[in-house]
Subunit: 217 residues, 2 copies
């Protein structure tokens, strides 16, 4: 918090750059994006952008890093709040999705091959693996505790991450559903599929039907 206060301007700028960059990468793909496109999205000149970032690769790396940090924050938050595996999973997933839709820092869904140097790529893979290990451990805890049905934590983890990582492809901040609503519905549904005895009603995010949105573009 103190860091945030003392370097508020810089922090905000870094955040804005990452948010807009993630948005542009998600729309155009890494190779289809130039720093020019990011500068335009930020309404600044390319020279002004270069004052803050070293390269397009640097921006991509920072986006991925931030996204993984948010994911790990969710896990830590969940551990602090409860020991019940289903609640922990719900809290962790909800945090990740809320922050992701809020900031759109998001997972830059596709890590195009060759986009990052081997060194940076390795650093992300290590962090990514650490997060996936925690997710799998949480699923295993739930099975051991008798809260979750027997499952393949590797595959179920990938199903959960897929559903979540796809959100930036279709989520519209001006659409009928807020990020928090999406996070609630998704977390309930994804946890419910694991429960030995889910509540008889609700739990898959009951609510009014949303209006159609683009998911392909």
């Amino acid at each position: 918090m103190s860091r945030r206060t003392t370097t508020r301007r810089a922090t905000l700028t870094q955040e804005r750059i990452l948010n807009e960059s993630a948005r542009v990468f998600n729309r155009r793909g890494y190779h289809g994006t130039r720093l020019d496109d990011i500068a335009r999205a930020l309404h600044v000149t390319k020279a002004a952008l270069y004052y803050h970032v070293r390269s397009k690769e640097d921006v991509l790396f920072q986006c991925h890093l931030r996204s993984l940090e948010i994911a790990m924050e969710g896990m830590a938050l969940a551990r602090e709040r409860t020991t019940a595996p289903d609640e922990r999973l719900r809290i962790a997933l909800r945090h990740y999705m809320e922050r992701m839709t809020d900031q759109l820092t998001a997972t830059v869904v596709l890590l195009d091959e060759g986009a990052l140097s081997p060194v940076l790529h390795r650093r992300l893979v290590q962090k990514r693996d650490a997060f996936e290990r925690e997710l799998r451990a949480l699923l295993e805890d739930g099975v051991a505790a008798g809260t979750f049905v027997a499952c393949d934590p590797k595959l179920i983890g990938l199903a959960i991450l897929g559903a979540i990582n796809w959100i930036p492809k279709w989520f519209d901040p001006d659409g009928p559903r807020s990020g928090a609503e999406v996070a609630d519905v998704f977390a309930d549904y994804l946890v419910r599929g694991l429960l030995h005895e889910p509540a008889r009603t609700n739990g898959a995010g009951a609510g009014a039907f949303a209006s159609p949105a683009e998911t392909l573009a």
Copy 2:
């Protein structure tokens, strides 16, 4: 079948081109892929490839089209086999995933903005919308029949599609799990989250733990 027999050579070639192209697009992103890369993956010259395809855009369009056709085939198959909404959903999703992992024609997960001309883009969006409408109608049928809990079919549909569309990002045909196994586990888990009264055990794809696989690269 008869079409397949009479034009077997041509059909196989078209299939091979689409399969390899989807693989390369998924790895490198559309803008990061050149027809050269696809030719190399197919072990043919670029000239030989040009004999079969008009352009990179044409290949991308055909990949998306094939993927949507497979998705619709699954829906039709499910309708023929049963009227039970949970079984229909399971059959439709399983078919889509099996064919996708089998052929890797796959959804080319990211449709980069500006990758396709507006006319081709519109044709895909129409087909994609038709499929999503069918998926939502199936979810609504399940709720109406009392098989599924109350849910927001739009958001749940997007969660399901996200989990499935992410598969090409991590699935390894030489990995520990076959496409059919992945399809089974995913379909069970995704349907289970909707059921009023899921079976007490199993249903989230019980099985031995799979070994780690790359999901970021």
